[in-house]
């Protein structure tokens, strides 16, 4: 079953389309990295799923039920734009309000559990406004985690976090997916961090989903290339092209795509009188994939 299925979702603000027939499929149990430029419609999509925005048209289902189903929505946790905490109240009070809202029975136990997950056990009495940005983000996650959510929607949760904070957030997200069976929809600009945890990706541009891909599939399909420097780069490029290789001259080096056998490559060059002075194997990551996809779309 899919945790989220969106079909033909459209949302406009004063005639400007933020979402233009968006389709999206988030498999249950996945960590879905939602990627796109600023203003591409990521937050709008998330807000529509959470019922904060009213779509112009389209269909949203959560776990096979309409997104307006009270039974499903009570199992959705979200951190969108801000934590939704009262600044003058303590961390504990804010969590208590959410626990009451969700109708949880063992409220203190639940609060202790989520505070432990986000490593904030010692800060429960702290006033929310006195918390650091990283702490506030973690409290937001804790709020979203209350009541055993089946779906977690996080909008840029790692923005503004330091290296340690990012690592902690990564650990938390992997932990809740693995141990609590939660599906996570996470949008972020920090692709390097997303790449470490995401199992699926959705790339959005101008309100349209331009690519959805599983991390494993992307890994399999990711282009590998060998960067090389020789005594005559132009001659090497010509030679490899004639040999049927996909060759590009980029950033002062020769890149030979879809080849990972460096031994065969260097032997071929040497046989033809060219001496490779530097040879390295690379794999195109999420960032390069995203950039190349965006540049193709722009054309």
């Amino acid at each position: 079953m899919n945790a989220i299925e969106i079909r033909n979702l459209t949302k406009s603000f004063r005639g400007m389309y933020a979402l233009d027939g968006l389709n999206m499929t988030v498999p249950q149990g996945s960590i879905y990295g939602f990627i796109g430029e600023n203003g591409s419609g990521k937050s709008t999509t998330e807000k529509c799923i959470c019922g904060h925005l009213v779509p112009d048209k389209g269909n949203i289902t959560l776990f096979g039920k309409p997104y307006t189903d009270a039974g499903v929505r009570v199992r959705v946790g979200a951190l969108i734009e801000n934590t939704g905490c009262f600044p003058s109240s303590s961390v504990y009070s804010n969590l208590m309000m959410q626990a009451i809202n969700l109708g949880l029975k063992d409220r203190n136990g639940e609060i202790a559990r989520v505070l432990k997950i986000v490593r904030m056990e010692d800060n429960a009495k702290l006033q929310f406004k006195k918390c650091s940005l990283g702490m506030k983000q973690r409290i937001g996650i804790a709020m979203a985690l209350l009541g055993d959510p089946a779906l977690l929607i996080l909008d840029e949760p790692i923005n503004g976090l330091d290296t340690d904070g990012m690592r902690l957030m990564r650990e938390i997200l992997v932990d809740i997916t693995k141990n609590y069976g939660c599906t996570v929809l996470i949008s972020s600009h920090i692709l390097g961090e997303l790449e470490k945890i995401a199992t699926h990706y959705g790339i959005i541009r101008q309100g349209k989903m331009i690519r959805e891909i599983a991390a494993s599939e992307m890994d399999n399909r990711s282009q590998v290339y060998v960067s090389l420097k020789t005594n005559d780069v132009q001659a090497a490029a010509e030679l490899l092209r004639r040999g049927g290789c996909n060759v590009r001259l980029e950033e002062g080096e020769l890149r030979v795509y879809d080849i990972d056998d460096t031994g065969r490559l260097s032997a071929f060059l040497l046989r033809n009188g060219l001496v490779p002075t530097e040879l390295r194997k690379h794999k195109i990551g999420l960032e390069e994939y995203y950039v190349s996809l965006m540049s193709k779309e722009a054309v």
């Binding site: 079953m1 009213v54 801000n82 939704g84 009541g147 997916t177 069976g181």
Partner: protein
Amino acid sequence: MENTKTLQFEKPSFIRRLQGMLGVDFYRLFHTPLFYIFIVIAALIPALVSMGAMGDGETAGMFSNAWQIIAADSPLYIVHDMGEYANMNMVFIFGGIMVSIFIGHDYRSGYVKQLFTTHAKKEDYMISKTIVSAFSMVCMCFTYLIGGMIAGAATGLPFAINAGSLLCAILGKVIMSLGWASLYTFINIIFRRKFGISIALCFVLGTGIPVIGAAALIGNTTALNIFLYGSSVYACLSANFASVLVCLACSVVWAIVYNVLGSVILYRRDVY
């Protein structure tokens, strides 16, 4: 990494949903100084009113009975002096300000998004806010009553009254809290974060100026009881059981109207 355990989604009943929403609102109400400040203000209003009555100025001698601090002698939609106007109805003016700040903070803090994420049914929000706001205004009515009795005693005014009528007047005004609370909740879900506008509008409507203005045009008629301020005035020291029923009908009907309209708006409008 993917974990596809079978999930069970239990649809919460209306009562359970409302309990959750009411629980949060009452928790917030009792944990915010705002509520206690307004409770104290409600108790101080009659003291300020009676101080005016004791003075030598224009307001001197505006009360001839201590209970007139609680309600007017008869349903006067057209008021001629402060003595005819200054009574427990003033709780509804301050109640409007309190409700505006209370709901406005929901939107300013962004907490309303947490509520709407987990509560797909928007009517839960309207009903809960109306009940909690009505409760706070009822509390203010009672502290006003206590303040009024102390102020009446301090000014040395006589307490002689028909107990039944007094009880009906107080009960009528307490019942009107529900209608006023629904109006203020409705205004606040229209203006949301801009609670300065909500406060101003609640204040204007709470003072009853539109009804007083209408009364000046069409006369002192009981037809004005269809309005919240009209029925609030109708709960006076000459009230009887019928007056209570009028207050009940007016309050409940407006509460339903505003709750339905408010829910429709919440369903159709984006939450910011």
